[in-house]
Amino acid sequence: MEFFKIRRDIPFMRNALAFNAVSLITFLAAVFFLFSRGLHLSVEFTGGTLMEVAYSQPADLTQARNAIAALGYADVQVQNFGTARDVLIRLPAVKGVSSAQQSEKVLGALKQADASAELRRTEFVGPQVGDELAADGLKALAFVVVGIVLYLAFRFEWKFAVAAIIANLHDVIIILGFFAFFQWEFSLPVLAAVLAVLGYSVNESVVIFDRIRENFRRFRKMDTVGIIDNAITSTISRTIITHGCTQLMVLSMLLFGGATLYYFALALTIGILFGIYSSVFVAAAIAMWLGIRREDLIKNVKKEGDPDDPNAGAVV
């Protein structure tokens, strides 16, 4: 089986401007949605109480909402979670009442309305802890960005590092934009998924850069644009197959992982899809515009007459 029968180097870099324009537009759209709608942060970041209650039949949400409102909670979110029988209740933090008392009272009220209500889990996060978790999340992101830039600068060259980070942060912002647009719940596992995607996405760019470096060594006569095109073309099959396999795993998570892992898997899916786009088209294009040259990667310039015959290259 062979999906990618590519006869010629696909001239990707000719359309570099178009690709980058598209990615810039999606980036701006994502930023716009982030600012206008904001992320729907989970209880872990905002503080408050979360309760998951299961009923034996499909739950009556209005009944539940009324029961809780009767206790004096005006701003309560009640929604289905996973199946029609599971209900997720979000209570804001109330001063002076411990979450233990809160959840017991609410459960009592719900049980009065429908005796089959069963508490499956509660989460309470004090506002201070919520702020700390948010700060830690940002620190983790900063750490990853700095770490990757340093590593790539060391292994390749600073222009590659910058190109890779710009392209892949663009990924991260797009995922956040999706979450802001659809108002999906942004929780700690989703943040973990975003950071994992960042690492994975840079992975892609590294494969292409590695190929570029090898091509610089091999094809003495080819110009930078040709080398980049060749690198992308040679690795496209590997890129798509790997992303396909990872997506298979993530699909399995989407289908079997249940409601808890749903948004996590969703973040991964978006990251994988846009990751191909950013790493293949955007990263290489930015590297090209930053002006990478053979001398950047090959420190010791060998004499002419290298045994590496430039003709032992890709099929034209």
Partner: protein, 633 residues
């Protein structure tokens, strides 16, 4: 060129063996069990205890499964949960009939069914996090400023008595925040006081300043001493929590300090979460103060007059008001034990208190001076105080053993003793984070995680075999070995597995296949360019290695960041992620190459390798086409 030396194969075999061995315990499932452990350090768990337990079970008609006696616990396995519950009751009745004085804690637990020889190798199943096991997780914040304030308050009292002893007259002592201010009329007395403080109170730092004609001496706690107070407060609270949790009968609770002022409590497998929260949520602090019995106080008690200066009004448990002085004589720190019992003379229900040396001395002094007066024992919960009991002091009480009796039933004596024991916190605590997972959700989460990993693995393996033929099969086997090693390492390290951790397993498998795809694609490319099969295999592995290393390092950086800054379930994700990357580097490259070398390495005149279609642009009938692939025009 594609031969591995024997020692490399030896490494692979050892890795596989160790991996399988340490993964095995995870497949044995768990049996319901009862765990008996010592509630006090003076009580031992030994073979004599085992004998008693066996007898108790025989009397109840239950045959136990395996009995394991470890250093400080005795674990007994049963076949069904019914047996488990009946056994727990029987053992509890036999060993610890009086719940308040229980020398042993009898708890329900789930124990792995793995055989003895595996346990002897320290092979245990993975440690499941709360979201997979069900249970309760709390994070408590100790109110440190409050602890320091209380220390300042008690030091102020000590200072007052010290100054009185030395007959140094002062114009007033009061506590201002966390420092103590003493006013003096003359500079000489102020200096003498300063010297006295330096002698007797080495923890205090003193400064003098003139203040409206008087001299003001400000004493504050040295930063070192302040830190010590905080540490001690934290440790005291942890001990108190230990005692409270023992009452719940939870097996393997986790109580840990986190940072400078937080405590993490995890109670896995707790069935009655409401009761757990109730017992832990009681953050009470204890104080002993003198009751004010002037006529104004009595009027205030009845409600007809205002509360006199320097006193406070509290309610007793039966609703009566008591006016107590503001000065605190003793705090819960000095109380080491409280037990219900009976008065030796009147056979009335009483509570026996034991104080530590310092508390005993203070108590003796106070009772000597205040025979006939009333002393109040107060319990503060969330800033509101309640008088537990306010007995009359009949005589000087030395030796630190105090008996409180009178007007109490045995039930009340029990309750008071419990409250006093549970209430002796050095500083109040607040719950700032809580996670409760019901047991049914825990089992469901395991099933979901397991299914995701299994089906994803099957799908990827199937695709790889179809696309890359034999090399695909090798890659799939390598992926399986990756999973095996990952589970083995997690079991060995007893790292906590959470639901995001299982998701990380699935993700790791998806990323690990990247390495094999890189290698396979490279081999195909070399074949396409006309290299001989052996050379193609060699070149494929060599050239791909640098790329695999780079890409894995970048993913590892992300994993390390999450490990450093993550907490709770996200930390579980990070641990599995990082370990998975490391095992994938081993299995995808080293192990799969071992397989390939085993299969193809020996063949000197290798004509073709089964790697799926190696499509060439020029002609169709070229040598080197896969024997199993389709012939494409």
């Amino acid at each position: 060129m594609n031969r591995y030396p024997v020692w490399k194969y030896a490494i692979i075999l050892i890795a596989l063996l160790v991996g399988s061995l340490y993964t095995l315990p995870n497949f044995f499932g768990e049996a319901p069990a009862v765990q008996v452990s010592a509630a006090k350090s003076s009580v031992k768990v030994d073979t004599a205890l085992q004998g008693r337990v066996e007898e108790a079970l025989r009397a109840a008609g239950i045959t136990p499964g395996l009995m394991q006696l470890e250093a400080s616990t005795l674990k007994v396995r049963f076949d069904t949960t019914d047996q488990q519950l009946k056994a727990k009751d029987a053992i509890q009745r036999a060993l610890a009939p009086n719940a308040d004085e229980a020398p042993y804690v009898v708890a329900l637990n789930l124990l792995s069914r793995s055989p003895q020889w595996l346990s002897a190798l320290n092979a245990a199943p993975m440690y499941l996090g709360l979201d997979l096991r069900g249970g309760v997780h709390f994070m408590l914040q100790v109110d440190m400023p409050s602890a320091l304030t209380k220390k300042a308050e008690s030091l102020a009292g000590d200072l007052r008595s010290a100054l009185r002893e030395k007959s140094l007259r002062h114009a007033g002592i009061n506590r201002n925040g966390q420092s103590i201010e003493v006013r003096f009329r003359e500079a000489a007395t102020a200096e003498a006081a300063q010297r006295l403080i330096q002698d007797q109170f080495p923890d205090l730092l003193t400064t003098t300043s003139p203040d409206a004609g008087d001299i003001k001496l400000t004493a504050s706690l040295k930063p070192d001493a302040g830190r010590k107070v905080q540490e001690q407060a934290l440790k005291q609270n942890i001990t108190t929590l230990h005692n409270r949790i023992n009452e719940l009968g939870v097996a393997e609770p986790v109580i840990q300090q986190q940072g400078l002022d937080r405590i993490v409590v995890q109670l896995p497998g707790v069935q009655d979460t409401a009761k757990a929260k109730d017992i832990l949520g009681r953050t009470a602090t204890l104080e002993i103060r003198m009751v004010e019995d002037s006529s104004e106080a009595r009027a205030a008690e009845l409600g007809s007059g205002p509360v006199p200066f320097g006193t406070e009004r509290f309610l007793e448990r039966n609703g009566q008001a008591v006016i107590v002085k503001k000065q605190v004589i003793l705090t819960g720190e000095n109380l080491t034990d409280a037990q219900p019992g009976f008065d030796s003379q009147t056979q009335e229900a009483a509570v026996h208190l034991t104080l530590d040396a310092k508390g005993a001395r203070i108590f003796r002094d106070v009772t000597r001076e205040s025979v006939g007066k009333r002393m109040a024992i107060l319990l503060f919960e969330k800033g509101k105080g309640e008088v537990v009991t306010a007995p009359v002091i009949r005589s000087e009480i030395g030796g630190g053993r105090v008996q409180i009796s009178g007007r109490m039933s045995t039930v009340e004596a029990n309750d008071v003793a419990l409250l006093l024991r549970a209430g002796s916190l050095a500083a109040p605590m607040d719950i700032i984070e809580e996670r409760t997972i019901g047991p049914s959700l825990g089992a469901e989460n395991i099933a979901k995680g397991f299914n995701s990993v299994t089906w994803g693995f099957a799908a990827v393996a199937a695709f790889m075999c179809l696309y890359y033929m034999l090399f695909g099969l090798f890659s799939s086997i390598a992926l399986g070995v990756n999973l095996l090693l990952l589970v083995a390492v997690l079991s060995m390290l007893q790292a906590t597995l959470t639901l995001p951790g299982m998701a990380a397993m699935a993700l790791v498998l998806g990323m690990a296949i990247d390495a094999n795809v890189l290698i396979n694609e490279r081999v195909r490319e070399e074949l396409r360019n006309g290299a001989s099969p052996q050379a193609a295999i060699h070149a494929g592995y060599e050239r791909a290695w640098a790329t695999i290393l780079d890409s894995n390092v970048t993913t590892l950086i992300a994993g390390l960041a999450l490990l450093a800054f993550g907490s709770g379930p996200v930390r579980g994700f990070a641990v599995v992620h990082c370990l998975g990357i490391l095992t994938s580097m081993f299995s995808a490259v080293f192990f799969s190459r071992g397989l390939v070398n085993l299969w193809y390495g020996g063949q000197k005149r290798l004509q073709s390798v089964s790697i799926g279609t190696v499509w060439r642009a020029e002609t169709s009938a070229s040598s080197g086409d896969s024997s199993k692939g389709l012939n494409r025009p």
